[in-house]
């Protein structure tokens, strides 16, 4: 046993102490570095195919290689980066701290989810590598991240392995989700009522509910795929009497909610950053909190908007289009409330806030262009073109990824105990902002002009747009490299961070050291005010400290 008052990084030493740890902070860090590694891999594939797309003719790599590149980019970014990014990496680190708890409800289960994540990731990468080196063995992984049948069932067993990997990864997120739900219900500090929870917790709570409810559908889909490929029962394959469109229903029944598994956590971080760096109560707290739950529920009934041109009945398309418009409202409500929070605040433009402003700008574009796609008549034209590619990059990358990086810069001092170079951090945010818009804004134009997605070769008319987009991708590379440099440099320079550099009011900043001690807090923190009550006098009390003063803790709603 280490000394409980020593910080969690130094409490125990050696590789083994990391691999068998049940400390949510260490597990969070291991998730974080795994995710960052996969982000690098996914990014490299993107740069490779953006380079191929510089010219209209397919000339740099073969069509098969190109198809593998975009598939790997999609699979890695969705399943190994965006889905685990905020919930598993930041959530694991921050959630128990914000709740005033010593750990998550089931620490060992938490470690198990990390291992399951690693197994799933290894399996996904293994399939990719085997499939690419020798396609005759299991077939190439060249189906796109959507694995549509019957193309995916013709190529060999690779798709089974990939779906199995996705399912194992899903298991990891189901376990994390359950763990978080129980932790939020059971381990809140005295005085931490539901409406005193930081909005980060609310959004993670909504995410966890979707994870637990939607991911099993992916499992069912996999079972059906296996039954078809191994036993020969016709389900999706028309040659066996199956229905290929059925697969799309199954896939999107999971994957549309999964879109919100990806974006809600981004919104979670965003609420924290906007409030802290404006030093102002979050405007419309309850509306923002409940909008997360509304999104979680409606997200289950809009999947058919991916299938407007699939021959699905017009009536069904009408209903799905209508419901899709409904889900726009709670997202809009969040944006309006964030802007209103900044009104009359005291706004500090530190690195995390710049990433939060990136989110606001980019996610707004992403959300609004969703209207073009949710509207039936325009979607017929834009479906499966670069317009869609631009739209979901603005939402997923402009949304979740920006706040993920913002969140890293926000909690980095807490995680490591060191401060980074503010100028480098800001420069990275600005360069990424520029690179992002250069890469993706032009893709809306391409899509409107009719450029289909997943094209290896294209008509020359689109070439100039592609050149711009590729240049943007390399600007993005520079931006992210600077961000990485700033973080690595902080570990080398070792400039000690203060306990609460951002003047935040949530427990991870007020009640524990930077970096936190092994069991998070010395004593049991009590909460006397809301998470964003920057005007209230700071109270840093624990059950024990109140006891010592002879004023035992009593809950008051004030």
């Amino acid at each position: 046993m280490g000394d409980h008052n020593v910080n969690y990084l130094e409490a125990k030493k050696g590789l083994k102490s990391w691999l068998v740890t049940v400390d949510h902070k260490r597990i969070g860090l291991m998730y974080l570095f795994s995710v960052l590694f996969f982000f690098l891999a996914g990014g490299v594939f993107a740069l490779l195919f953006r380079a191929e797309l510089l010219t209209a003719k397919g000339d740099m790599v073969s069509a098969d290689t190109y198809n593998t590149f975009f598939t790997l980019h999609g699979v890695i970014m969705v399943f190994l980066v965006i889905i685990p990014s905020v919930p598993a990496a930041l959530g694991n680190f921050v959630l128990p701290l914000q709740l005033g708890a010593k750990d998550v409800a089931f620490p060992k289960l938490n470690l198990l989810s990390l291992y399951i994540f690693w197994i799933g990731a290894t399996m996904a990468l293994g399939t990719i590598i085997v499939g690419t080196l020798d396609p005759t063995l299991i077939g190439r992984v060249d189906t796109g991240w959507t694995f549509y049948t019957p193309y995916s069932s013709n190529g060999g067993t690779a798709v089974i392995w990939m779906t199995l990997a996705a399912f194992i990864l899903g298991f990891s997120s189901i376990l994390t989700g359950m763990n978080f739900i129980v932790t939020i219900h059971r381990l809140r500090a005295p005085g931490l009522t539901w409406f005193r929870l930081p909005l980060f917790i609310w959004a993670i709570y909504a995410t966890s509910i979707i994870q637990v409810m939607a991911t099993p559908v992916l499992g069912i889909t996999l079972l059906l795929l296996i039954m078809e490929n191994v036993v020969g029962i016709g389900i999706f394959n028309p040659n066996l009497g199956g229905d290929p469109v059925l697969f799309q229903h199954f896939f999107w029944f999971y994957s549309h909610p999964a879109v919100y598994i990806m974006i809600l956590p981004g919104m979670a971080v965003q609420s924290e950053l906007i409030a802290v760096f404006s030093q102002k109560k979050l405007f419309g707290y309850k509306y923002v909190a409940f909008s997360s739950l509304a999104i979680a529920i409606i997200s289950f009934i809009v999947w058919g908007h991916h299938m407007f041109v699939s021959g699905q009945s017009e009536l069904l398309s009408m209903i799905f289009s209508f419901l899709t418009f409904l889900v726009a409202i709670p997202s809009g409500v969040k944006i309006f409330n964030w802007v209103a929070t900044m009104y009359k605040g005291s706004i500090s433009l530190k690195t995390p806030m710049l990433w939060a402003l990136n989110f606001m700008f980019l996610f707004t574009i992403g959300g609004l262009t969703g209207l073009h796609l949710g509207t039936l008549s325009t979607d017929v034209h834009l479906h499966d073109t670069y317009f869609v590619v631009a739209h979901f990059h603005y939402v997923m990358m402009g949304g979740t990824l920006m706040t993920f990086v913002g969140g890293i810069f926000y909690w980095w001092p807490k995680m490591t105990g060191y401060t980074y170079n503010e100028n480098l951090g800001r420069a990275s945010a600005i360069i990424v902002f520029i690179g992002f818009n250069v890469t993706f804004l032009i893709q809306f134009v391409m899509g409107a002009q009719g450029m289909p997605r997943r094209y290896y070769q294209y008509i020359e008319q689109y070439e100039k747009f592609h050149v711009v987009s590729t240049i943007g991708a390399f600007i993005l590379l520079v931006g992210f490299l600077i961000a990485a440099f700033a973080l690595v440099q902080s570990l080398i320079q070792k400039n000690k961070a203060p306990d609460n550099p951002w003047k935040a009011r949530s427990l991870e900043w007020t009640h524990t050291a930077t970096p936190p001690v092994e069991h998070n807090f010395i004593g049991q923190p009590v909460v006397e005010y809301g998470p964003y009550d920057y005007d209230a006098p700071m109270v840093v009390e624990t059950l024990e400290s109140l006891e010592a003063k002879g004023q035992p803790y009593q809950f008051s709603e004030a």
Partner: protein, 339 residues
């Protein structure tokens, strides 16, 4: 495979007519113009909302910028029921309107007018085959006239054309940007798309595949040539001569160019499938090591049930072909001619 490469390279020269290359392509039909109207409307709504969100955001960042460490927020105002209702209900009304106009335009795109000329479309890995069974006036053709996408596919102006589409293998999608029309092409099912080009819009329009379908997905671009009705009829009559002409070497060559060329070469080089050079009467080694002579029976089986016997060293990647008896016999003639 040089000829194939040239075919692919030529594809990159195709055009999607666009007077304004920063917006949507030129709209050929009334329905397409309506779609553009909705597109423009939504874009205006987006710009208004975007400005309404981002301008205040930047203004607040500038106006309430923290100038000293001690500076605190001017106000801690944290809710307004009025605003919440305003910014939930306001957009809701607008969104319902967008939903409604979108749905109306969608019905226009989906429901074809009376008396459309029906054209069959068969998509395969990787190409398109159009099947004509009537001319402009609706007189039946001698036989189902098949035309492949390696040449322009003719269609008449001034009459609605309804494409009845199915796929031989995997999913494809039939996309005509200039008409704002799209429909997935699904094996084992029929999906439809309709268009009508007015007289003054006789021109070449590009067809794309927009559902990822494997290696040559991006090389399924085809030219749809809309011409005056008499010219269309004349072309169709010409096509019937080869298509309905029984067994001929020419017909075999035509099928090869249209369908088999992407996988089988004539010059001995190895593609997705074995070369056709010197194939006829050759002793072929199969996957399980057994040998078979390439004759009528074997070739017919290779075409109709390609996976029954797999050539050693090749994947089971050949899709089953839907050729009729005359077409298969024409193919024999063609294969015999490739020495």
């Amino acid at each position: 495979m040089d000829e194939t490469q040239k075919f692919f390279d030529d594809m990159t020269k195709m055009k999607v007519q666009a007077a304004n290359e920063w917006w949507t392509p030129d709209a050929v039909t009334q329905a397409a113009q309506t779609v553009d109207g909705v597109y423009n409307l939504i874009t205006i709504v987006c710009v208004i909302f975007f400005v309404g969100i981002i301008v205040p955001m930047f203004y607040f960042t500038w106006k309430y910028h923290r100038k000293s460490e001690e500076q605190v927020a001017v106000s801690q105002e944290d809710h307004s029921t009025f605003l919440e209702i305003l910014w939930s209900a306001g957009p809701m009304v607008l969104l319902f309107y967008l939903f409604f106009v979108g749905f109306r335009g969608f019905l226009d795109l989906r429901v074809e007018p009376e008396g459309a000329m029906e054209v069959g479309v068969r998509a395969y890995q990787w190409g398109w085959e159009f099947q004509y069974s009537e001319d402009f006036e609706g007189n039946p053709t001698k036989c189902t006239t098949k035309v492949n996408f390696n040449e322009p596919l003719y269609l008449p102006t001034q009459r609605p054309v309804k494409f009845i589409m199915t796929s031989s293998d995997v999913l494809h999608s039939f996309y005509l940007p200039s008409f704002r029309q799209k429909g997935d092409v699904i094996p084992g099912r029929y999906n439809t798309v309709w268009v009508e080009a007015p007289a003054d819009k006789a021109d070449d329009y590009t067809l794309f595949c927009t559902e990822y379908c494997g290696r040559s997905h991006s090389q399924m671009a085809a030219t749809l040539r809309f011409v005056d009705p008499p010219e269309f009829n004349k072309w169709l009559k010409e096509k019937q001569k080869t298509s309905c002409g029984g067994v001929s070497l020419k017909r075999g060559k035509q099928i090869y160019d249209g369908v088999c060329k992407t996988c089988h070469s004539l010059d001995g080089s190895k593609g997705t499938g074995p070369t056709f050079k010197g194939l006829w009467a050759k002793e072929e080694t199969l996957e399980d090591g057994s040998k078979v002579t390439v004759d009528e029976t074997y070739v017919q089986e290779s075409i109709l049930k390609p996976n029954a016997k797999i050539v050693k060293g090749y994947p089971a990647a050949m899709p089953a072909q839907e050729l009729d008896e005359d077409e298969i016999k024409s193919m024999f003639k063609f294969l015999q001619s490739v020495k």
